[in-house]
C-alpha cells in the first residue's frame, strides 16, 4: 500500500556561529537536515514554476543581511520525466552573510523563513514556508 502523507515534516535547521562581535562580518552557516525519504527542489529548480528553496532573515536594525549562497543541486533522473530534476536531500548547508553593525551587547534575535516544496518517491506536497528563530550572543 502506498504511504500518502498530507504535510512535509519539519526540516531541522541548525546554525553556526552562535556568537558574534559587533562590527563583524559573519557567514551564518545554516545546516538543514531534510528527513529521510524526502527531497526538496533546489534553489534553481529544473522548471521555472517549480518552487525554489529559499532562506531569508528578517531585517533588523544593526544587522545587514546579504545574499544567501546555496549548495549545488543533485541531479535527479526520474523514470517519468525527460526533465532532470534539481533537488536537495539529506544534509545541506546554506550560507547567509551578515554584517553586524550594532555595538549593542547581549543577544541578537533574528527570525528567518525557509521556503521550499518537497516530494517523496510517491507524491509531491504543496509549497511550504517554515519559520525559524536564531539568537546570536555578542562576544566582548
Amino acid at each position: 500500500m502506498i504511504n500518502i502523507i498530507n504535510d512535509f515534516p519539519p526540516i531541522a535547521i541548525d546554525y553556526q556561529p552562535h556568537t558574534v562581535k559587533a562590527g563583524q562580518k559573519v557567514s551564518l552557516m545554516f545546516t538543514l537536515n531534510i528527513p529521510d525519504g524526502f527531497h526538496i527542489m533546489a534553489h534553481k529548480p529544473a522548471e521555472e514554476f517549480l518552487i525554489p528553496t529559499q532562506i531569508s532573515l528578517d531585517s533588523i536594525e544593526g544587522v545587514i543581511v546579504g545574499e544567501p549562497s546555496y549548495p549545488a543541486a543533485k541531479e535527479e533522473r526520474v523514470s517519468w520525466s525527460e526533465t532532470v530534476l534539481l533537488t536537495y536531500e539529506g544534509q545541506i548547508t546554506i550560507v547567509v552573510p551578515i554584517d553586524v553593525t550594532t555595538g549593542a551587547s547581549g543577544t541578537l534575535a533574528l527570525t528567518g523563513m525557509l521556503s521550499f516544496q518537497g516530494c517523496t518517491e510517491n507524491q509531491c506536497l504543496p509549497p511550504k514556508k517554515q519559520k525559524f528563530d536564531i539568537s546570536l550572543d555578542f562576544a566582548p
Binding site: M1, I2, N3, I4, I5, N6, E47, E48, F49, L50, I51, W80, S81, E82, T83, L85, Q117, C119, E121, N122, Q123, C124, L125, P126, P127
Partner: protein, 175 residues
C-alpha cells in the same frame, strides 16, 4: 491487442483512497471561470467524453504530463468529441498563465481558486487534505455525464505520456 484498462486496475493502485462517488454516478456539475473569465460547467459538455484533470503548477508530475495532455490527448482526440478540462487548484492566475504558455495548452483551464471543486472530487481519507489528494487526478466522464473512470496519483505506475489516459478515453468513445 492490448487489454482494456478497467476501474478495478485503477482501484488496485489507489486502495488508500475512498472516493466520494462510484463508477457510473452522474458527475457532480460545477461552474468555474476559465482564464478569460468565461464561466464553464461540466454539463456544457454533455454529449462529449470529458477528461477532467486536476493540477497545480508546483507539481512536477503535472509538468511532466503537461505536454502530452496537449499533444497526445487534446490535439489527437478533440476532433473525436473529447473535451479536456484542466482545473488548477488554489493558485493565482499569473502562475497558471505561465504554465499554459510553457506547454502551449489550448484546452480550457479552469481556476478553482478556493479549492471547492477539488474538495468535491478528492478522495476521503482522514488527515489528508483535498488539495493534496486531488493533484494529478484524472476523471473520464462519458457522453451521458457519468463517471466512467478515475485515478488519483500513484507514482509507482504514473505515466507522464498519458498513454493510459488516452486508452481510457478511447474506451469511453467506443461505448
Amino acid at each position: 491487442m492490448e487489454p482494456e484498462v478497467t476501474q478495478t486496475d485503477l482501484d488496485d493502485e489507489v486502495s488508500v483512497f475512498e472516493p466520494p462517488f462510484n463508477i457510473g454516478d452522474k458527475v457532480l456539475d460545477f461552474e468555474l471561470s476559465d482564464m478569460t473569465g468565461r464561466s464553464i460547467k461540466v454539463s456544457d459538455y454533455q454529449g462529449k467524453v470529458v477528461l477532467l484533470f486536476f493540477f497545480a503548477t508546483w507539481c512536477p508530475y503535472c509538468s511532466a504530463e503537461a505536454p502530452y495532455l496537449e499533444q497526445e490527448v487534446w490535439q489527437k482526440l478533440k476532433e473525436r468529441d473529447v473535451q479536456v478540462l484542466a482545473v488548477d487548484v488554489k493558485e493565482n492566475r499569473e502562475l497558471v498563465e505561465k504554465m499554459i504558455t510553457r506547454f502551449n495548452w489550448s484546452f480550457p483551464v479552469l481556476l478553482d481558486s478556493e479549492g471547492a471543486v477539488a474538495e468535491k472530487f478528492a478522495p476521503h481519507k482522514e488527515g489528508l487534505s483535498p488539495e493534496v489528494a486531488i493533484i494529478n487526478a484524472h476523471f473520464v466522464i462519458d457522453r451521458q455525464q457519468r463517471i466512467r473512470s478515475f485515478d488519483y496519483l500513484n507514482m509507482e505506475k504514473f505515466d507522464a505520456h498519458a498513454r493510459r489516459v488516452v486508452k481510457l478515453l478511447e474506451q469511453a468513445l467506443a461505448t
